[in-house]
Amino acid sequence: MEVIFVLIGISLVMAGGFLWLFFKAMKGGQFDDQHTPAIRILFDQKTKSKANKKPPKKKK
């Protein structure tokens, strides 16, 4: 059953890695704004680029 210590070790390393990421993200201000990100994703780009426009006539 020694392998369980290996698994616990790996799991702890992963969990520790995620914990570190969490603190880093928190200090980096990722979670400061808990309102606008949810809304921002709803706005699609409004580029005036012609390339995005559908060609005027449907191809047959």
Partner: protein, 710 residues
């Protein structure tokens, strides 16, 4: 925005189109194979009379196709569309995107070829052999590198919650896949697991559960958090909750694996640990479900008319149901009833058909008209698909619940005499055959719906014009000043924490590589003195058992319940499996447990039973294997197999690899002689002889040595 210049860039839609198309093609293929497997369970003739299409080989093909091909490609399509848009940057490297795409399809193709050929490691959801495992690791890392590269080049400082889900999925799946796949190759397409018996079981289910968690759940939660708000045009109900959902989910998920091994030979404390974390998982899972459903508050009128939202509502509800059922099933007393039955099959299909399937469909219905800049070809067809799919799920799951409870209660039933009420396993199978038929009907409905979708989307694409590169513009992210031309390592060194972690990980990898073999070899010292390594012929028979996927229907793990020991014999002990590479405990009993089958029947019984199961067990659902009596088995690699086992610490005498073939042949002759006495003429080097030798050995060691000391 004053003073900042807008940068122009474009998003690659072509890769999304390809991944989306692959999702549909492999989805149909995977479901069709599933339907075949479901049919085989009430109509053995559907095994088609050849080794390549028997249930044991078709089932892993189905699971691999739907998980890694259908769901996998759907994840990639969803990520390659949403991630660049969320980060305001195209995917980091287009070449890498295409390597990822074609590499992944090649891996799937190799699975389609190798699994029917019986080239399998037999570990559930990790069946592919070692060269393909390496390819998976490489391609997966390419996917991860592409994501991280995009992250570094992003123009949007904030990482939306979906991105977190994508990244966690990448990191965790990589680690799990590598550790579970560790094996020592014998030849190009054969290897033996680095772990044995109970350890192999633990590693497998640590992986198996997390494959569900980090392949079928977290990436799809990321997709949900992007596509559901987009489709409803409403912000997610609570962004704060989504962050809590993410962090709590990933911290809890890694520990839940042992709930797949309750009441087995796994140590009790490990089982309890798994149960505790599994029950805790209910909280974040339902947090996510509630967050998804409440996003639709005030938009339910849209749900009535928009098929995309309909699919999403059922998907999120199915997620909620499956994640309620999961903790329930990991409670030991519930698990005692549900384990080895069709309940588990129903559970995974609520998740697979409902959550993964329906979210994928909704995503494709949403993406296709957008990328082709047109309207969906037919909303009516999509609605028909929705109802076919929903009915399909119900017709699939409900009969499975009935089948599971019926069979489980029959297994446990004792008559007034104190004997089993249904001592013949087959009685409990025949009872539920009608449920198997209904299940296949449910699968057929679901597949029919998916075919409608493909038709609908092909028509949609034909009517529109595809936008290959979607242009966008955004200001560059303000950068901290860095010296040009400075050595790359300098930048890392300025970030002490980051650097320390990297260093630790590097050291850990080295340490683990060194430590694991030592630990594992040491643990191979038998704990039951009478348990001996397999003879060469038995090893060959075992490999045949693996190649034919017998483990898909037959467990080799008798739980310590009276109704099990009464039916099968002495309960299974950890020390009996120390030479089992891989472990073959199984997770489903469509047929009876085989751990104590050794010596139970004469050789001739096994011969007749393999040729035609129904001749020995009328009404049996087992596929016949008549070719085993004539197929000559290639024993030339037995020396290499013995050497591999020796390297893994199995105590064959030194130089035994030289004598193995001789031993093998003499044992084969003995069995062929036994069969001859019963009037059966068979060549000693046929497959059936090797298989019989293995079956007759199963679970007999502890009987030889009197009471084993564990």
């Amino acid at each position: 925005m004053s003073g900042t210049t807008l940068e122009k860039f474009s998003y690659d839609n072509k890769i999304v189109k390809f991944f989306g198309a692959a999702t549909m093609i492999w989805g149909l293929a995977g479901m069709l194979i599933g339907l075949l497997a479901a049919t085989q369970l009430f109509l053995p003739e559907a095994n088609l009379g050849n080794p390549y299409t028997t249930f044991g080989r078709i089932r892993p093909l189905h699971t691999n196709a739907v998980i890694f091909a259908f769901v996998g490609n759907a994840i990639f399509a969803g990520v390659y569309y949403s991630m660049p848009r969320l980060l305001k940057a195209p995917m980091w490297n287009k070449t890498l995107s295409w390597i990822h795409f074609w590499g992944w399809q090649a891996i799937i193709l190799s699975a389609v070829i190798t699994l029917p050929l019986g080239l399998t490691s037999s570990k559930e959801y990790a069946e592919l052999e070692w060269p393909i495992d390496i390819a998976i690791a490489v391609i997966w890392v390419a996917f991860g590198a592409n994501m991280i590269g995009t992250l570094i080049k992003r123009r949007e400082k904030h990482m939306y919650v979906a991105i977190w889900f994508y990244l966690a999925s990448f990191v965790t799946v990589a680690v799990l896949h590598i550790f579970n796949s560790l094996a020592l190759p014998v030849s190009f397409m054969k290897s033996y697991s680095a772990y044995a018996g109970v350890q192999d079981a633990l590693v497998q289910w640590w992986y198996g559960h997390n494959a569900v968690a980090f392949f079928l759940t977290t990436p799809f939660l990321g997709l949900m958090y992007y596509y559901l708000p987009k489709a409803a045009n409403r912000p997610v109900f609570s962004y704060k909750l989504s962050i809590v959902h993410f962090w709590s989910l990933i911290f809890l998920y890694i520990w839940a694996g042992p709930h797949h091994l309750l009441y087995t030979a796994l140590p009790e404390w490990a089982q309890v640990l798994g149960v505790a974390f599994s029950i805790m998982l209910l909280a974040p899972s339902w947090g996510g479900m509630v967050n998804g459903l409440l996003t639709l508050r005030g938009a339910w009128d849209k749900v009535r008319v928009d098929p995309v939202l309909k699919f999403m509502v059922v998907a999120v509800t199915a997620y909620g149901m499956a994640t309620f059922e999961g903790p329930l099933l990991s409670i030991k007393s519930v698990n005692a009833i549900a384990h080895y039955t069709d309940w588990i099959v129903a559970h995974v299909h609520i998740g697979g058909l409902g959550w993964n399937g329906f979210l994928t469909f909704s995503m494709l219905y949403w993406l296709w008209p957008r990328m082709w800049r047109t309207k969906l070809f037919s909303v009516k067809l999509a609605n028909t698909h929705f109802w076919l799919g929903t009915l399909g799920i119900l017709f699939y799951a409900l009969p499975m619940y009935v089948a599971a409870l019926t069979q489980s209660l029959m297994w446990k039933e004792f008559a007034d005499t104190g004997r089993l009420a249904y001592p013949n396993f087959l009685e409990t199978v025949i009872q539920i055959v009608p449920m198997y038929m209904l299940r296949a009907f449910g699968g057929l409905l679901y597949l029919a719906g998916a075919i409608l979708m493909v038709y609908n989307l092909v028509k949609t694409a034909a009517a529109g014009s595809f936008l290959e590169e979607e242009e966008d513009e955004a200001p560059a992210l303000a950068k901290h000043v860095e010296e040009k031309n400075e050595f790359w390592h300098r930048a890392w060194e300025r970030k002490p924490v980051f650097f320390t972690i990297l260093a630790t990980v590097a050291i850990l990898i080295g340490g683990i590589v060194e430590i694991i073999p030592t630990i594992l070899v040491k643990s191979n010292v038998p704990t039951i003195s009478s348990v001996q390594p397999y003879t060469p012929l038995e090893l060959q028979g075992r490999d045949l058992y693996i190649a034919n996927g017998c483990v898909g229907c037959h467990s080799q793990m008798i739980r310590p319940f009276r109704f099990e020991t009464e039916r099968y014999g002495e309960y299974s002990k950890a020390g009996e499996y120390v030479y089992d590479r891989p472990f073959l405990w199984g997770s489903k009993r469509t047929g009876p447990d085989l751990h104590r089958v050794g010596g139970k029947y004469p050789d001739s019984w096994h011969y007749h039973h393999m040729v035609d199961p129904r001749s020995m067990s009328p009404g049996s659902l087992m596929p016949p294997y008549p070719w085993m009596t004539t197929n000559i088995m290639d024993h030339s690699n037995i020396g290499a197999k013995i050497r591999t086992m020796q390297k893994l610490g199995v105590p064959y005498e030194e130089g035994y690899d030289e004598r193995a073939l001789e031993d093998l042949q003499s044992q084969a002759k003995k069995i062929a002689g036994n069969l001859k006495e019963s009037g059966i003429e068979v060549l000693p080097d046929t497959e059936i002889v090797a298989l019989i030798s293995y079956l007759q050995r199963l679970g007999t060691d502890i009987k030889k040595g009197g009471s084993g000391n564990e």
